[in-house]
């Protein structure tokens, strides 16, 4: 009999404790991010598709068109083209094409690039209805970013 009553009382009390917890949450500020009105900054190690790095001195790409990234890529996503120009030492990048549909974000290209000319972007808002939308011209992208 005593046990029976004790169980009822402690049980009822525990229910009120539970209510107390939820009402405290009720009055605390919300913690959800109202995407797309608000966004969080991406973490530094986030891997988006790769992009060309801007050289702070010249404002151009750092790429020397050595083709190491193209060779390193296991999925053959990267196509690099360059040409010799009068008065310029080394090759000049004319095209850097990334086929993001095949990229596995493995990072071998970033690792293999000695002048550190490519990096992962922080771009995660990607949407498209055609495959072609994911073949990026990274040189044009860098130029557009510089403008």
């Amino acid at each position: 009999m005593i046990d029976y009553l004790r169980e009822i009382i402690s049980g009822t009390w525990s229910l009120f404790v539970g209510l107390g917890i939820t009402i405290r949450y009720f009055f605390q500020p919300v913690v959800t991010v109202q995407y797309p009105y608000q966004t969080l900054p991406m973490t530094p190690r986030f891997r988006g598709h790769i992009e060309l790095v801007k050289d702070e001195e010249t404002g151009e790409t750092r790429c020397i068109v050595c083709g190491m990234c193209q060779k390193a890529c296991p999925s053959n996503c990267i196509t690099v083209n360059g040409e010799k120009r009068e008065g310029v030492k080394g090759k000049v990048l004319t095209e850097y094409r990334l086929d993001f549909t095949k990229c596995s974000l493995c990072g071998l290209c970033v690792e293999s690039c000695t002048p550190k000319a490519i990096t992962f972007s922080k771009d995660y808002n990607l949407a498209g209805v055609r495959k072609e939308a994911y073949i990026f011209d990274l040189k044009k992208r860098l130029e557009a970013k510089n403008r």
Binding site: I8, T12, L15, G18, L19, I21, T22, I23, Y25, F26, F27, Q28, P29, V30, V31, T32, Q34
Partner: protein, 330 residues
């Protein structure tokens, strides 16, 4: 032409009651979603209108534009009348609820009895709808609803009988009038009649939750095991009417708790009694109902029946005996 003013009065009340029930059903859904959101520390509906206030309207339009599917093999009559059987008694119950001293459609002498009579039709509606659906989930749900309601109607009615013994009347208006003049006159604190009155209120409230099939007693619509329980085969407004009936029943339950235990339209400090106090108490109780839903997980079916037969019924009977002894002695 001479029209009896009583007829006009009744028509006005009829429209008022239906509007009140519908508005409550719509905006309680909004309140429920908002409250659930904030308890889980998110916002809830916010896109349609300021604070998502137009959301119920849009939801209603969505439900109304949907096709009413009557699946092959269902009982055509029962399947169609079941939602109405849930909705109509809920609206009828509003007729005798006194919102303030003057604001009542019909002041019945047996108002209390009438409301509990209507309240039990609700179960019948669910049972018929589920049976008519010819769906095994619905039938399991119906069996649960009925046994749950049988189990919880007993402690609820025993508590109400205790209360009727104290007040000596079934007229809701008179019950409230006896509790006027501050919160120490309310039945919940009526310690001279029985020291267990707060417990009686608690029992009544728990039974009210079970009768309206609210969480943690929502065995009828246990989504995780029964799809949507009795509502599995209903679509569009068929489901919508069930839903509105449920919320109307919650309003009735909260109103009854207010009238029977919390002094109806009486102000806790004896100042300015009126309909606003009734609404404040009622909505506070409804807030609590929703708050409970988003706090506790659903009980198991045996836990639910054990709670009623092993705890609520013995205690309510004990309270009944104690009260009658106290009434006899003092």
């Amino acid at each position: 032409m001479h029209v009896d003013p009583e007829i006009i009065r009744l028509l006005a009340f009829l429209i008022g009651v239906i509007a009140f029930a519908a508005l409550n059903a719509a905006y309680l859904v909004w309140l429920e979603r908002k409250e659930a959101g904030h308890i889980q520390r998110r916002i809830g509906p916010k896109e349609v209108g300021p604070f998502g206030l137009l959301q119920p309207l849009v939801d209603g339009i969505k439900l109304m534009t949907k096709q009413l599917i009557v699946p092959a093999g269902v009982d055509p009559v029962l399947f169609r009348i079941a939602p109405i059987l849930v909705m109509v008694p809920a609206i009828m119950s509003f007729v005798t609820i006194p919102f303030s001293e003057t604001l009542v459609a019909r002041n019945l002498d047996i108002g209390l009895l009438a409301i509990f009579a209507f309240a039990s039709v609700n179960v019948l509606g669910l049972l018929l709808g589920a049976w008519g659906s010819r769906n095994k989930y619905a039938v399991i749900s119906a069996a649960r609803v009925v046994s749950q309601n049988v189990a919880y109607e007993i402690p609820m009615l025993v508590t109400v009988v205790t209360l009727v013994m104290i007040t000596g009347t079934m007229n809701l208006h008179n019950i409230v009038m006896q509790q006027q003049g501050g919160f120490w006159h309310w039945n919940i604190f009526n310690f001279s009649a029985s020291p267990l009155m707060p417990v009686a209120f608690l029992i009544f409230f728990v039974c009210m939750l079970a009768e309206t099939n609210r969480a943690p007693f929502d065995m009828a619509e246990a989504e995780s095991e029964l799809v949507a329980g009795a509502f599995t085969e209903y679509s569009g407004m068929g489901f919508g009417v069930f839903f509105m009936g449920e919320y109307a029943n919650i309003v009735i339950g909260a109103s009854m708790a207010t009238i029977l235990f919390l002094g109806g339209w009486d102000c806790p400090f004896g100042l300015f009694p009126g309909v606003h106090w009734f609404l404040i108490k009622m909505y506070f109780l409804i807030f609590t109902v929703i708050w409970i839903r988003w706090t506790y997980p659903r009980t198991t079916f045996y836990g639910l029946l054990n709670l009623s037969w092993k705890i609520l019924i013995p205690i309510s009977f004990f309270n009944l005996i104690l009260t009658s002894a106290m009434l006899k002695v003092f």
